[in-house]
Amino acid sequence: MGRAVFLLIAVAFLGAFLYLNVLPRFSPQPRAQPMRFSHKAHFEESTCEGCHVYVMEHGAAGTPTLENCLDCHDGLQSEKAEDQKEEEKLVVYEEEEREIPWAPFPRLASHVFFSHRRHAAVSEIECATCHEDIAESLTLPGNPPYEFTMKWCLACHEEQEASTDCVACHR
């Protein structure tokens, strides 16, 4: 009986150790974003292309550069104090002549070929079809907000009768 209790406690300790110390090392840590950016607020004023400027022309849609931001943000325009605090960061970046260190998600796997232009401009697919309701989000995600798996891509390609040839996307 005493042995069983002892074993139970040992297992519990081991489990706790694994859960607290080992597991986190293998699960992705949220990455810090430079600021609390609200897609929702920006989408009300602008379009997707307004900030992701290459979405219609290139493979990568691009993240806004400091210059892109400063095109609109001229000084402090926000009304709420907490928004102003975020906006001030832009000023600091400008003074320090630094780019905004975005942590973009999701990253494309190196063996996959993907072109935003092909999907958004040529085939005229809505951004929301893949990027879901990112336009509604109030903060930037720290972890990939969604996962694009091959199965998921293929399901749509099959539905739309787009190419399902491996080399159409694999490279």
Binding site: A109, S110, H111, F113, S115, R117, R118, A121, V122, S123, S163, D165, C166, V167, A168, C169, H170, R171
Partner: protein
């Protein structure tokens, strides 16, 4: 559906190796070294093979650019246990899907032309070269097979461009890197099924032959034997 193929005119080939270099640069193929070459571990999707003929006064060297023949009945595809190498229906390209490959090297053994290459180590480049890697082509991990893909990333781009301009893909839209650089214009590339294309016309030349035709692999790379030119047809 197009069926891409290549014609290499051996009469025009000067053995300058431009195609071999262009291929390496285009496809992020790691460099070799004399030691690696001695070990037989060089990777070269496109190689210019020398053939030596005759004794000294009458000695002669012939050149033959050799690459994957993109066989119509590819033995490498038949035996791959995971279908990591497969014959693309849409283009006729025999492609290699790296994340699927388990590195058993069976396909390399089964290819009669020995044009599949194995990544014995993780590929390395000198530091300044890393920035020059082609972003359209993945850098292969260690322990997968790789081979000529007929620059398949270019057909993707060419298709995208053509679709953007709302037109069909035409002969010459999709060119391989080796074809582009060949100073003697020995390499022609295009759709073999398109009766208009230059490559289809050349592949029917009486000089045309294919490598190991008796093997029944139906290669899509044709060679034009050295000999008299049919000037009218081939200009």
């Amino acid at each position: 559906m197009p069926r891409y193929g290549m014609v290499i005119d051996l009469d025009r080939c000067t053995g300058c190796q431009a195609c071999a270099v262009a291929c390496k640069v285009e496809n992020n193929v790691p460099f070799s070294s004399p030691e690696l070459a001695l070990e037989g571990r060089t990777i070269a999707w496109m190689q210019v093979l020398p053939f030596y003929e005759g004794e000294f006064p009458e000695a002669r060297t012939r050149f033959m650019p050799a690459l994957c023949n993109h066989c119509e009945i590819p033995p490498c595809v038949t035996i791959c246990p995971t279908s990591a190498t497969y014959l693309s229906e849409e283009t006729g390209i025999v492609a290699q899907i790296y994340p699927r490959c388990i590195g058993c090297r069976y396909c390399a053994v089964a290819c009669p032309y020995t044009v599949k290459f194995f990544n014995w180590f993780k590929p390395k480049w000198p530091e300044p070269m890393v920035a020059g890697l082609n972003p359209d082509v993945s850098v292969r991990p260690k322990s997968v097979i790789e081979k000529c893909t007929f620059c398949s990333h270019r057909v993707v781009k060419a298709r995208e461009r053509a679709d953007g301009e709302k037109r069909k893909l035409k002969d010459g839209d999709y060119q391989t890197a080796c074809q582009e650089v060949c100073p003697a214009k020995a390499i022609t590339f295009g759709d073999l099924d398109d009766p208009e294309s230059r490559v289809a016309a050349l592949s029917k030349s009486p000089r045309a032959f294919r490598f190991g035709e008796d093997l029944g692999t139906e290669p899509k790379v044709y060679y034009l034997r050295e000999g008299e030119w049919d000037v009218e047809r081939e200009r």
